[in-house]
Symmetry: C2
Subunit: 187 residues, 2 copies
DNA sequence: ATTAGCCTTTGACAAAAATCAAAAAAATCA
DNA sequence: TGATTTTTTTGATTTTTGTCAAAGGCTAAT
């Protein structure tokens, strides 16, 4: 009964009892296309693990809506800086398809951290993974040209092209809708 | 004898004995201008806290050298994804001025984590802070225009303008040296 | 002090991408 | 199904930025 395989893969030495403690707190939830996991102004209360489906995370400021990431099966998604500091977020996270998730709440996680020393490993794992994916995102956006970034998205996360609107992908790639449209037609 | 004030500020409840254990492992080090804290190909072995001075972190790929961040007094700097996964990095971190740092090594940190449960709090604090500053960096680069980004750098980190070469600042702001030069002269 | 080398600025031009506007295609709904 | 609305594509134009080349300025070493 391991609901989140990656935890076992990376920390095979966490005792079963601790894993159970953690997994027991997870709440299942199903999101319909368009449902929001969190929206701007809220304080993020959950870390979410995606069992299936695709979600889009976007930042809103000065009436621009910019896609920061697309996440799918096997990934964690959260308004992490809001979760960490328990302050309001600018992020909107929405489901792009029917999405099944597992969630643990901030308060329950904090209680677990006090209760069981092994819990820190699990939370650390999540933080570390989250950090690395963000760093990859940043590097990706700095080194690749518009067309390369589109091609990489196409090969690494083909499902996104299917589910996301062109406008979402364009803002993710830092280009206008028209430019993306031209890149697509030139291939 | 608190060498890293921010730890006390954010986790005032960590027992003195644990703090001592941590602080005792810190190694002081002085870098001269141009010295490298870590360079590409290496596995990052330390988390570094900057007591004074300024450092630049840059990624190298396909003979491009792109500045990812500038860090100064009171900040942590590390090739974090390399540190986490203990794999080689693409990062170069160099001192832009004489810089005084405190370092803890990966192996000692891991030993401490096993030894004292409170240590996890300290490491978590570092990870969380590091995450948040990276997220800010990403958002900053997505929402602001070239000129706004330069102005923000000018007001928030004026020392950098003093110590960093124009080429470093330009790559940080994702623009050519010439464009940055024109922005500067138009103000 | 003078020269050599490097970094920065400036100018002219080319390339890339944004914007504006309209047409075409696709999705939604009565 | 057909009509309406929304999204995507295409075209023309403008703006922004990059590239190349040359000039100017600063630094350091002889």
């Amino acid at each position: 009964m391991n609901k989140i395989p990656v935890i076992h893969e990376l920390y095979p030495d966490i005792p079963e009892t601790s894993l159970h403690l953690f997994f027991d707190k997870l709440q299942e939830k199903t999101l319909q296309k368009g449902d929001l996991l969190i929206s701007e102004g809220q304080i993020c209360q959950h870390i979410t693990y995606i069992q299936s489906g695709i979600v889009r995370s976007a930042y809103k400021r000065d009436d621009k809506d910019i896609t920061i990431s697309f996440s799918g099966e096997g990934e964690f998604i959260t308004a992490m800086s809001s979760f960490i500091s328990q302050t309001p977020t600018y992020e909107n996270i929405e489901a792009l398809s029917e999405t099944h998730v597992l969630q643990i709440s901030y308060s329950e996680l904090m209680a677990l951290l006090d209760q069981d020393k092994n819990m820190e490993h699990i939370y650390r794992l999540i933080l570390e993974r989250y950090y690395i994916s963000l760093e990859e995102l940043l590097i990706f956006s700095k080194f690749k040209s518009a067309k390369e970034r589109y091609l990489e998205l196409l090969t690494k996360k083909p499902l996104i092209i299917q589910y996301a609107a062109v406008g979402h992908i364009a803002s993710y790639l830092d280009m206008s809708i028209e430019t993306l449209s031209r890149i697509r037609s030139s291939m």
